[in-house]
């Protein structure tokens, strides 16, 4: 026997998205597991998913039900999930009710019934739902009960392992009950919890232990949808190393902005565009995506502020080819607006899309909307979470273009409201200024890590075809105060004319030396 043959413990796929990754590859075969958690935390659904993913005609699953949720109701609700196949319920998945044996309070009879059914059915998977109910029916003295329970659990674990069964005991346990013997005997302990914070509910899973495997530590958020549980592993899949890329430039699609960035944003960078409401952040973000599509680069837009239909309608109004690009699988529009979102869930949704489309450009529109979409508990560590999200996305080589709304007074210059500028490689700011009695828009490139860039403050306009950058306001002082003043009053007329008449991307002519002398 080789060393490999001795040490191999085969694993079962759980059928639960993200769970295998958390478990370090799957469930060790023939393990004796405990699924613990409060009422409504998803224990029964998790067990059903595992059962339906693994049960076959030759290796069926036995699902023991006890007091608590009546079997009929359980089946009625569980069959609403897409993983529940009514065709195999009754054949590959068999339900056995233990209520009578449990009502008698005789653990021996319960064990006998379980063993008899296992012998008869020869299952690959056994679930006892709820194990806590069995234990709760013991009506002897506490000491006797503890002894009886110890023996019962030992014998049950022994029988099930001997019959080469992977088993799951489900129960409502509290954290302080971890001295219960079942916690000692169990090979795997999975703890499900849900917490309510204001109007949001956040579900989390913790793999407390898995013998023979290396699970991911920490709490992993999960969601229960029509497809069952979907777990979002806290630490995203590591690709081994960051994708290295030649610092190629990617056009922003905005006339004049490429010039300010010395040829476009750097591929694989995290770019942040910040500005007040109505400054055209989404417009520029869309132009960035569209420039990529025209260059043959697929893209993903994660929308947090409006419904995708509205977003798409606006984008289509600007260019009807947007819809075509989505249908052609070159562009994906992800809608992430619930108020109980976790950063991991958002990250996995975006990552899935990036991988599926082999995307080169991602737009997150906007960070402000993203923060609001998060459950309150995750807003507290928004900066840290965003750091992980951006780091994971850029590690794949994709360029992340984020928008962020800033609320600012004329004399108050801020890059972002979220104080997250440290996570970005490039920052472009937009703001309003008052000039000649008009509200004008200006933008500037503030930061491009490892790259030179223009330091000019330039006006820009939002046209039906998108944003167009105009001339630099080289003759003005105090632009960032919001109320610039012309350095040389006599140049006002020509400067104003230049600003209004200049072609986008072309700097206005500097005032002549004669004018300056005046």
């Amino acid at each position: 026997m080789t060393k490999d043959e001795r040490s191999v413990i085969r694993t079962l796929g759980t059928g639960v998205r993200g769970f295998d990754k958390v478990l370090g590859g799957g469930l060790p075969e023939y393990s004796f597991n405990l699924v613990a958690g409060g009422p409504g935390s998803g224990k029964t659904t998790l067990a059903h998913q595992i059962v339906f993913a693994n049960a076959t005609g030759t290796k069926p699953a036995l699902y023991f039900t006890v007091l608590g949720e009546p079997t009929l109701k359980m089946l009625r609700y569980q069959r609403q999930f897409s993983f529940f196949d009514p065709k195999v319920a009754g054949a590959a998945v068999q339900f056995v009710n233990l209520t009578e044996e449990v009502m008698d309070g005789d653990l021996g009879a319960v064990l006998e019934k379980i063993v008899a059914e296992v012998e008869r059915t020869k299952p690959g998977i056994v679930v006892v739902d709820s194990f806590r109910t069995i234990v709760g029916r013991i009506s002897r003295s506490e000491e006797e009960a503890a002894f009886g329970l110890d023996r019962f659990i030992q014998r049950l674990a022994l029988h099930l392992t001997t019959w080469e069964v992977t088993s799951f005991l489900l129960g409502e346990y509290a954290e302080e009950e971890q001295r219960n013997p079942v916690f000692t005997v169990a090979d795997g302990i999975f703890w499900l919890s849900q917490a309510t914070d204001r109007n949001s509910v956040v579900r989390k899973l913790q793999v407390v232990k898995v013998r023979g495997s290396e699970p991911m530590p920490g709490l992993h958020t999960f969601r229960i949808t029509n497809a069952g549980l979907e777990i979002f592993p806290r630490i995203p899949e590591q690709t081994g190393s960051r994708v290295t890329h030649k610092r190629a430039r990617q056009s922003t699609g905005v006339e004049g902005l490429d010039e300010m960035t010395m040829g476009g944003v750097v591929s694989g960078d995290a770019v942040m565009l910040t500005g007040p409401a109505g400054s055209g952040k989404s417009t520029i973000a869309n132009q960035f995506i569209w420039a990529g599509l025209e260059a043959g680069e697929t893209g993903v837009i994660a929308v947090f502020e409006e419904y995708p239909e509205e977003y798409l309608a606006r984008a289509n109004a600007r260019d009807p080819r947007v819809g075509e690009m989505i249908r052609a699988g070159k562009l994906d529009l992800i809608y992430l607006r619930p108020l109980d979102l976790s950063v991991d869930e958002a990250l996995h949704a975006i990552l899935d899309s990036v991988k599926r489309l082999k995307a080169k450009r991602v737009v997150i529109d906007s960070l402000s909307g993203f923060e609001v979409a998060l459950a309150p508990t995750f807003r507290e560590d928004f900066r840290e979470s965003l750091y992980r999200l951006v780091g994971t996305l850029t590690a794949t080589g994709v360029t992340v273009f984020m928008t962020a709304e800033v609320v600012e007074g004329f004399s108050d210059v801020r890059f972002t409201s979220q104080k997250v500028s440290f996570i970005t490689d490039e920052i472009i700011i937009q703001r309003y200024i008052e000039m000649e009695g008009e509200l004008r828009r200006v933008m500037a490139v503030v930061k491009m890590r490892g790259s030179d860039h223009s330091h000019e403050i330039r006006t820009y306009e939002l046209t039906p075809k998108g944003a167009r950058v105009g001339p630099a306001l080289t003759e003005y002082d105090g632009i960032m105060t919001g109320v610039p003043s012309l350095r040389d009053k006599s140049a006002a007329v020509s400067a104003k004319r230049d600003v209004k008449q200049s072609k986008p991307g072309v700097l206005p002519a500097k005032p002549s030396a004669a004018k300056r002398r005046k």
């Binding site: 079997t71 089946l75 009625r76 069959r79 009514p86 009754g90 054949a91 068999q94 209520t99 009578e100």
Partner: protein, 144 residues
Amino acid sequence: METAQQLANRLLDRETNAGNADTTRASAAARAGEKLYRALSRWIGTDGCHALFTRARAQQLASHEPLDSLQLRPRHEPYIAGAEETIGEYGNDATANAIEAMIVAMIELLGRLIGVDMASNLIEQSLSDFAPDNSVPAKRRARA
């Protein structure tokens, strides 16, 4: 997919053709109901199964008077008690029709609760364990 009536007919036919010379339609129906109760109890528990039969009987009582003299006794053998007396009082056909109506109503009710496809599967699978002439599961009988 079979209807509740077709499934019930199959159960009754199986008991009628079980080979007992003294089998009447009513006694075959009572045996079918008995086996259905025992088979389904494995899946959904005796209480769950009894709840279904009780509701089915209540639904059919107005149109099938013999059901009033039948007793449903969970955790007892037989589960459907008083069949002979009911036959004596109402006759073979009326009793058989009453029990059959209760079985059909019970299958329909189960179908409404968990879906017709799954209900059919469960009944089909459960009954495959029972020999037509015995209420003890075939495999358990073989072991004995």
